[in-house]
Amino acid sequence: MSTATLKDVAKSHDKVKEPLNYLNATNTIKSWLFTVDHKRIAIMYLVAVSVAFLLGGLAAGMIRVELTVPKGQFLTNDAYNKVFTAHGVIMIFFFLIPAVPAVLGNFILPLMLGARDLAFPRLNLLSLYVYSAALVMGLAAIIGGGVDTGWTFYTPYSSVYSNSNVALTIMAAFVAGFSSIFTGLNFIVTIHKMRAPGMTWFKMPLFAWAMYATSVIIMLGTPVVAITLALVVVERTLGFGIFSPEIGGDPVLFQHLFWFYSHPAVYIMVLPAMGVINEVIAANSKKRIFGYEFVAFSTMAIAVFGFIVWGHHMFASSQSMYLGLVFSVLSFLVAVPSAVKIFNWATTMYKGSVELTSHMLYAFGFLGLFTIGGLTGLYLSSLATDIHLTATYFVVAHFHYVMVGGTAMGFLAGLHFWWPKMTGRMYNEVWGKVSAVLVFLGFNLTFLPQFVVGYLGMPRRYHFYPPEFQLWHVMSTGGAFVLGVGFLLPVIYLLHSLKHGEQAGNNPWRAVGLEWLTTSPPDTHNFHEVPVVTWEAYEYFQESHHGGDVGPSRFPFDDEAVHVSSDEEVHV
C-alpha cells in the first residue's frame, strides 16, 4: 500500500515537472481533430498506418495458413482471391506509401529544417482526413463483399468481368492518392522555402533529400494513376470502351498507364526508407555519411530513372521485343545508384564509433534485405530470366525483400530512432533488439523459400498448387509466424514506454541534427528561437577540405561534445 502511494506521488511529481509540449499543451479531442500541428498530425497518421499494417498483416496470416496445404485449409477460391487482394491494397496504398513520409516525414522534416511547421499546415490536416476517408472506403469495400482483382486491377478483368467491389476500392485508391499529393506538395514547398538560416541544400540531412525526391515522384506520378483508375471505373460503370477490346479498347494500354505510376511508386515507398537509413547509420557511427553528394545525387537519379523503366513489368505481354530491350537496359542502369548507396552506408562505419542500438540493428536488417531485394530485381530486369520468373513466387519474394525488407525495416528503424523525440520516452532497448533480430530471421525464413518455389514455377495468386511445392509453403508459413511476433513486439514495448519509459532528454543518441536541439517531446512551435546552422550535415567532428579530422564539431551537443578520435578512445 505504501509503495503504491509512493508511486502515485512520484507520478504526480512527474506530471508537475513535465514542461509544456505539443502533446500536453491541450488535451481535448477537438484540439487533436482540428490541430494543424505537423507533430500531432504525424501521431494520428502513425495510429492510422499502424491499424492498416495490422489489418494487412492479418490478411497475410490468412494467406499463409491457407497455403500450408495444396488444396486450401478453410477459404473458397473467391475468398482467397479477396484476401490476397485485400492484403495488397491495404499494404500498398495505406501502409507502404504513406508510412515513412506521412508519419516520420511529417514529424521530423520541419524539425530537421528548423521550421515551425510545414508550409501548408491546413493542407496537411486535409491530407490526413483524405487518407482516413480513403481507408474507410477501402475497408468498407473489403468488408462489405470484398474485391478480387489483385491490387494491380488488370483490365479487362477489373473493368468488365469481376463481380466484386472494384469501383469502391478503386475510388479508395484514387482518394488516397490525393493525400499523397497534398503531402508531397507540402514537403516540396517546405524544403524550398522554410529551411533555417544557414541550412543550404547541401547542408540538409539526406532524409530531407529523400523526402524531396519522393515528393517529386508523387507529384508527377500520382495524377497519372488517379486518371487511369478513374478510367477503369468509367469503363466499368458507363461502358465506355477504353481497355476492353470487346468495346474497342486496349487492355495493354492499362498496364502501360498503371506501371507508369506504379513502378515509380516503388521508389515512393523505398526512397523515404533509404532516407531514414542515412540518419540512423550516421548517428550510430558518429560519422558523416560517406560520399554525401553521391548519395544525394543518386537519390535524385533514382527518382528520374524510376519513370522510364515501367515496361519491365510487361516483358511477357504483347509489348514489342525492341521496347523490351530498351526497358531492360534502363532497368539495369537504375540498379547502379542503389548499389552506390549500399556501399556508401557500409563504408560510413569505417573509422566511426558504431553503437549497436536497436535502430541500428533494424538499419543493418535493411542493408542485408535490401541488397538481396535489389540483386534479385536484376533477374527480373533481365529479359531471358524474366519470362520464366515473372508472376511467380520469385517475384513475390523479390518485392517483399524490397517492400518489407526495405520500407518496413526502414520505417521501424526510423520509428525507434525518433521515438524518444516524438514521445519524450525511451523504450526497452533489449526488447527492441530482440524484435529487430526476430523480424530479420522471420523475414528470411518466410521469403527465402519463395525464391526457390518461384524458380520451380509456382505462380503467384494461386489458391491451389501442385503437391510437390508444399514443403516450401510450410517453411514460409512457419517463418511468417516468427515475423508476425517480431512485428507485434514493438507495438507492446513502444506503447509500454509511453507511461513507463525513462525520460529521453533532448538528444539521447547524441546525434547531429536540428531536431535534436529542441526538447523531447518538442514544444508546439518546435523551437524557442530560430536556429542558425553553422555546421555541415552529420558534423561529428570538423574536417579539413582534404578529409582530415581537425577539431570538435560545431554542432551544439547539449552535454559533452561527441568527438571521436583515436586519442580520446584510448582514454575511454
Binding site: K71, N77, T149, Y154, T155, P156, Y157, Y161, P245, E246, D250, P251, R288, F290, G291, F294, A316, S317, S318, M321, G324, L325, V329, L333, A335, A339, V340, F343, A346, M349, Y350, K351, V354, L367, G368, T371, I372, L375, L378, Y379, S381, S382, L383, A384, T385, I387, H388, A391, T392, Y455, L456, G457, P459, R461, F464, P466, L471, G547, E569, V572
Partner: protein, 356 residues
C-alpha cells in the same frame, strides 16, 4: 509432402540456356551479398564504440573508391543484359519450320487447335525435338500460358494474337499454368503439355488425338475436318465467297484473298501494314479499323457473330487459299467432353488423374 526439389526439370533447348544464365546470376548475387554483409559485419565489429583502433583521418568521400564499385557493377550489369537479351531475341521470333498450334484461353480452361483438325482441352500434344509455335488469343480476360519446364511464358490477350515457341527436348508431361490472374478458378486453369516421341505422336495423331471433340469443329461422315478445311466450310457458310471468290481474281466487290497472307496492305489512313494473323482477324471482325485505301467500305463487321475458334479456322483457310491443298477429311469422330466441375479440374491438374 514430397521431397525437396531445388530446380525444375529442363525440358526445352531454351530451358538449358536460361539455366546457365540463371546460375551465373546466382553466383554473382551470392558473392555480392557476402561482400556487403561481410563488410558490414567487419566494420560494425571493428569500429564498435569503445574499441581501441586507429580512427585518425577518417575519410568522408573518395571519388576513386566510389568509381571502383560503381564501374564494375555497371560493367557486370551490362554483360548480363547483353547475354540475356540475345537469348530473349532468339526465343522471341519463332523459326519458320515450327509446328503451329492455336491456343485459345478462356475462364478457366485452355483450348488447343492443331492444323490437322485435332482439338484438345487442357492438353497440348507435341512431338519431341521439333520446334512448336503457339499462336494464342483469349476469349475474355488476359491469361498467360506458362510452362516452367520450358522456362517460358507469354500473356494471352483478348483482341490480339501473341505467340511463343519452344523446342521440347525431353519426353514427358509438363504442367502448363495460367499465370495472369483471371478470376475465381485462376489457380485451376491449367493442364499439360505432353511431349511424345515421334512414333507415339504420330500414333496419337492417327487416332484423332483420342481427345474429346470440342464444339466448333466440324465433323463429316469421313471424320473431322482439318483446321483450314473447317475454315473453308465457314467461308461458305458465312457467304464470304459472294464477295471474295477463292480464285486469283476476286469479284467486283471484295478483293481476291490469294496471296493475302504476309502481303503489304495500303490502308485508307495512309499507313501500310503487313497482313499477318492479327490483321486478318481485324479485317474480318472490325473491317473499318483496317480499311484499305481503295476499299468501298461495304464489308460487314463480323464482331459478335464469330467465335475466336472460328476466326482461327478462317485465318488458316485464308493462309491456305491458292496453295492447292485438297479439301479432305479423314479423322474419326470423337466423343463430347464430360461436365467440367471444380474438383474434377483440380484432380486433373494436381491430383494425378486423367481428364475425362
Amino acid at each position: 509432402m514430397n521431397e525437396l526439389q531445388l530446380a525444375p526439370i529442363a525440358a526445352s533447348e531454351y530451358a538449358g540456356e536460361v539455366d546457365k544464365l540463371f546460375w551465373v546470376m546466382n553466383a554473382l548475387t551470392v558473392v555480392f551479398t557476402i561482400i556487403v554483409m561481410a563488410l558490414i559485419a567487419f566494420l560494425a565489429v571493428r569500429y564498435r564504440k569503445g574499441t581501441n583502433v586507429d580512427r585518425s583521418n577518417p575519410t568522408t568521400h573518395n571519388t576513386l573508391l566510389e568509381m571502383t564499385w560503381t564501374l564494375p557493377a555497371l560493367v557486370l550489369g551490362l554483360g548480363v543484359f547483353t547475354w540475356s537479351s540475345r537469348l530473349f531475341a532468339d526465343v522471341y521470333t519463332p523459326p519458320k519450320n515450327a509446328r503451329e498450334v492455336f491456343v485459345i484461353g478462356k475462364q478457366w480452361m485452355w483450348h488447343a487447335q492443331h492444323s490437322d483438325g485435332i482439338r484438345e482441352n487442357n492438353e497440348i500434344h507435341v512431338p519431341v525435338n521439333n520446334p512448336v509455335k503457339l499462336s494464342m488469343i483469349s476469349q475474355d480476360v488476359i491469361h498467360a500460358f506458362y510452362v516452367p519446364e520450358f522456362r517460358i511464358q507469354r500473356h494471352v490477350e483478348p483482341g490480339r494474337y501473341t505467340s511463343m515457341w519452344f523446342t521440347p527436348t525431353r519426353i514427358g508431361k509438363y504442367r502448363a499454368y495460367c499465370n495472369v490472374y483471371c478470376g475465381t478458378q485462376h489457380s485451376e486453369m491449367g493442364g499439360w503439355v505432353v511431349v511424345q516421341s515421334r512414333e507415339d505422336f504420330e500414333k496419337w495423331q492417327a487416332g484423332g488425338g483420342g481427345r474429346p471433340f470440342y464444339p466448333g469443329g466440324i465433323s463429316t461422315p469421313n471424320g473431322d475436318l482439318s483446321l483450314a478445311q473447317t475454315g473453308g466450310t465457314l467461308f461458305r457458310k458465312y457467304q464470304c465467297a459472294s464477295c471474295h471468290v477463292d480464285g486469283p481474281k476476286g469479284s467486283a466487290k471484295g478483293g481476291s484473298l490469294v496471296g493475302l497472307y504476309k502481303s503489304l496492305r495500303q490502308l485508307s489512313d495512309g499507313s501500310k501494314v503487313v497482313a499477318d494473323e492479327g490483321y486478318i482477324r481485324s479485317a474480318i471482325l472490325n473491317p473499318n479499323d483496317v480499311r484499305l485505301a481503295n476499299s468501298t467500305g461495304s464489308m460487314p463487321a463480323y464482331r459478335g457473330s464469330l467465335s475466336e475458334s472460328e476466326v482461327i479456322a478462317l485465318i488458316a483457310y485464308i493462309k491456305d487459299i491458292g496453295s492447292g491443298k485438297p479439301l479432305e477429311g479423314g479423322r474419326p469422330d470423337s466423343v463430347a467432353p464430360a461436365a467440367n466441375t471444380n474438383s474434377q479440374q483440380w484432380r486433373y491438374m494436381y491430383g494425378g488423374e486423367q481428364y475425362q
